[in-house]
Chain length 199, copies 2
């Protein structure tokens, strides 16, 4: 039997990816579905469609709504929410370290730690001090920050962005089950159902 | 006791509003919540943020995804889906007639009939022949098409658009419970919960 599996595509700058990152594990476990965490960057994808920043900044009504909606959703889920100062945050450093960390069993803990620091405590994830604390918290060595700057690791992240674009991703979080694409935290349950129903 | 109530804001050009229009009634009834149907037009709201057409046309990857997602959702809900030729459809005539028809007990049936013709059968709702058939199907007089062109009725629809913009709506479907805004078919259940929990 093939193991059921979904891919979870996330950008650390994405608010709704925080929700999925925090609620994904128990739901996937209950469904018997494995999860591959796929860090990527929305910046190049947004740029390709003519956006130079987050759509939540380009369309202020949408941005105001998003924070109100995030407040309601995090309250319902029992998650902390603290709006960081500079939005969208520069997520390149965090994504590079995650790319490397996810090659270890502690990578998922690192990703959750980054989301918790960013949207739970409002900290700046472009700051290496914050990323170092997240590595420590998840039991990973601090020098992963330097190791993540290798050409090879940078290239792997770039290839993920290219793969995301080629597969039609245009936002985060996204979930893929084979060629099937699901966009948005609201589609997490449906992506898991799809993996189970189309094995 | 105040009657629990939500407002359902819809544009006939909006694909996801079709889903909400078709599944709203039984859910609201089960929750004990009344629904005020509020036709409005996204065109002027999109124009105010610099869009001259649907975001699903402006961002093709999003458009392709939307139809795939609509296919999955309508299959799950047991609704027909037929993509109309010209998208987004011009929904002004349908909205004006709905504005008038919703003053009668058969207005909701008319709105559902329009959505069914448009996205269930792929018909052109800018065509008065189609709107006339929807009026007949819902037991309303065909001359409502002419009556809907009165200055007073046009003005009422324009005021709805202004109210929508003032209340921060930026897409459809949207749901409001007092000042609380919910965007997207995915938020229908949460809007109903909110109405019940914050009465």
């Amino acid at each position: 039997m093939t193991q059921l599996r979904i891919e979870f595509w996330f950008d650390f700058a994405s608010t709704y990816s925080y929700l999925s990152a925090m609620r994904l594990d128990p739901l996937a476990r209950a469904a018997g579905v494995g999860v591959t965490w796929r860090p990527f960057l929305l910046g190049p994808i947004f740029a390709a469609q003519g956006w130079t920043t987050s759509p939540f900044r380009i369309y202020p009504a949408k941005g105001r709504y998003m924070w109100r909606d995030m407040t309601r959703r995090t309250q319902a889920l029992g998650l902390p929410l603290q709006q960081p100062d500079n939005l969208p945050q520069n997520s390149v450093l965090a994504a590079r370290v995650a790319q490397l960390a996810l090659g270890t069993p502690k990578g998922v803990a690192f990703c959750k730690s980054v989301y918790g620091a960013e949207f739970g405590q409002g900290r700046d994830i472009a700051d290496p001090v914050v990323i170092r604390a997240c590595l420590e918290q998840s039991g990973l060595p601090c020098d992963m920050i330097e190791a993540a700057q290798s050409d090879d690791n940078k290239r792997r992240l770039r290839r993920s962005v290219e793969e995301a674009m080629a597969r039609g991703l245009f936002g985060a979080p996204s979930f893929t089950v084979g060629d099937e694409l699901f966009w948005g935290d609201d589609r997490l349950e449906q992506a898991l159902d799809w993996a189970v129903g189309h094995a």
